[in-house]
């Protein structure tokens, strides 16, 4: 009985955790998975989003509502960021070079330092009425601070899926990952599609930031512990697969929760990579990636 109890709780909290990981990784699934831009600054942008949400929450705004409104300025920020990146690298034919990776590491550092200067190194959190309360069903207990952000992910994925399959802009985004020339021939500017995609990914980062800071307190360096995990999720999913991102993240979340419960919490951070290495050995293109 005790064992089933523990396992059920690990499963529930792992699934919720995984769902939140998926949201953290969603922007990267677009920039890295679809556009092949190695945006290692994505977690830092997520943390910046968390701070923006905390700031709005300080004025009494609901974190999720604030994040929804903040997607607009973050989108614009993403457009600007991509324009700079493409001028500096892509248009000179050095898109996936080590230099471009360095640029993104630099941006992550600038964001971290900017947050330290502006807010100090203290942990920040948001206050919402449901923090501290839990949902209990049978012997499973799940804190709302996990459950609420975990429920954001399916909604975001549904919206993203509708966008990618039902709209012209979404089709163009899926096409640009394959063949930019196919877009040009269709009369569409591939760089504007990529710019828009980058804006979209940056807008998703602020939603992820809200989820992150509802889950627990955040400091300017929280991005560092997220970086490996979100890349593991995107690669495990198979580059560019949006539903795959959710499955991969939940897989990692549940595995981490089980390791934490039954082995030791100190092993948990390695779980994502153990799963990643094991899977890539069998399926080099990831769980849902197109095998070439």
């Amino acid at each position: 009985m005790m064992l089933i109890d523990l396992a059920a709780n690990a499963l529930a909290s792992g699934a919720a955790l995984g769902s939140i990981y998926a949201l953290l990784a969603m922007g990267l699934a677009i920039t890295f998975g679809l556009l092949h831009v190695p945006n290692v600054a994505h977690p830092a942008i997520v943390v910046a989003g968390a701070y923006a949400v905390a700031l709005a929450n300080g004025y009494g705004a609901d974190p999720l509502l604030a994040a929804l409104l903040l997607t607009v300025p973050f989108y614009v920020l993403g457009l600007g960021f991509y324009t700079f990146y493409s001028r500096a690298f892509e248009l000179r034919g050095r898109g996936n070079s080590l230099q471009s990776l360095t640029l993104f590491f630099g941006v992550a550092l600038v964001i971290e330092i900017g947050l330290v200067i502006a807010f100090g190194t203290d942990l920040r959190s948001v206050s919402v009425p449901y923090v501290g309360q839990s949902l209990s069903v049978g012997f499973v207990t799940l804190p709302y601070r996990f459950l609420v952000p975990a429920l954001v992910t399916p909604a975001v994925i549904l919206a993203l899926w509708l966008y990618l399959t039902r709209t012209h802009g979404g089709l163009a985004l899926r096409a640009v990952a394959h063949d930019e020339r196919a877009l040009s021939i269709s009369g569409i500017d591939p760089s504007s599609v990529k710019r828009h995609a980058f804006g979209l990914a940056t807008a998703l980062a602020v939603l992820a930031g809200a989820a992150l800071i509802i889950t627990g307190p955040v400091d300017p360096f929280t991005d560092r512990s997220l970086l490996g995990r979100v890349f593991a999720v995107v690669v495990l999913a198979g580059l560019g697969s949006i539903p795959g991102t959710l499955v991969a993240a939940v897989l990692i979340g549940v595995a981490e929760a089980f390791v934490t419960t039954f082995v030791s919490p100190s092993w948990a951070p390695g779980v994502a990579f153990a799963i990643l290495l094991g899977t890539l050995g069998l399926r080099p293109s990831g769980l849902f990636g197109a095998s070439r």
């Binding site: 012209h168 089709l171 899926r174 096409a175 063949d179 020339r181 021939i185 269709s186 009369g187």
Partner: protein, 244 residues
């Protein structure tokens, strides 16, 4: 009105290698013109210059249409397409993971003010019924001939005045080759489309084309006017192959 596409002494290449040398040609409204040449003689390079994928190192490419002259030489590919130049490129360049219909609506989604996308889509399906049948299927799962038809249909979706078609028959079974070439010819005769088509197969092309330019080592070595080709056919074919 003298609607036409003109190349004026175009030279182009890749890096230090010059592939096209001083190529001049024209395609007049309503014409189907063939660009003949064996492998590696610069056909695709020439068509890619028109489409803006390859930048000429000298010379100009002009579109003279409706009393207006537009210099395409420095324009970006999608702007060239939106100006009314449809492309059926080498290798087809479809999006293999998108469905047939999504490939088409991608190209039909930009409003260009030349007919409605829904009408064009209906016309594409009428011309290629197999595409309607397979419209939900991923483009990558079509046969070679069907993919070529999709590439042609996609070009139509951009509402072109002029179409550039690069070796539509390459890699297809002989019976399919005839279908595809016929479809291209139909566009010209039934729709009045203006077409420049690269081909290797001399007799195939000359049968349908009003004129043909023969490209050898990046130079136009011969222009074949309609009516003369059959008499000179064998000789021209030998020139093309570098045997004469």
């Amino acid at each position: 009105m003298n609607n036409r596409i003109v190349l004026e002494r175009v030279s182009a290449g890749y890096g230090a290698v010059t592939v096209l040398h001083d190529v001049s040609l024209e395609v007049r409204e309503g014409e189907l013109v063939a660009l003949l040449g064996m492998n590696g003689n610069g056909k695709s390079t020439l068509l890619n210059c028109i489409l803006g994928f390859v930048r000429p190192t000298s010379g100009r490419i002009l579109m003279e249409w409706g009393g207006r002259v537009t210099d395409l030489t420095a324009m970006r590919p999608h702007d060239i397409v939106n100006l009314g130049i449809g492309a059926v490129p080498e290798g087809r360049r479809l999006v293999p993971t998108l469905s047939v219909e999504d490939n088409l609506s991608l190209a039909g989604g930009v409003r260009r003010g030349r007919g409605s996308p829904a009408e064009t889509l209906a016309f594409c399906y009428e011309t290629f019924p197999i595409l309607r049948e397979r419209r939900r299927q991923a483009a990558g799962t079509l046969s070679g001939g069907q993919q070529q038809m999709l590439a042609i249909a996609r070009a139509l979706m951009t509402a072109p005045r002029f179409m550039v078609v690069d070796e539509p028959s390459v890699g297809l079974a002989p019976i399919v080759v005839d279908q595809v070439i016929d479809a291209v010819k139909q566009l010209q005769t039934a729709r009045g489309m203006t077409i420049l088509m690269a081909e290797q197969s001399f007799f195939q092309a000359v049968e349908v084309a009003a004129r043909a330019y023969v490209l050898s080592h990046g130079r136009i070595i011969r222009t074949v006017e309609q009516g003369r080709e059959l008499a000179d056919g064998e000789e021209i074919r030998r020139t093309m192959m570098g045997m004469a």
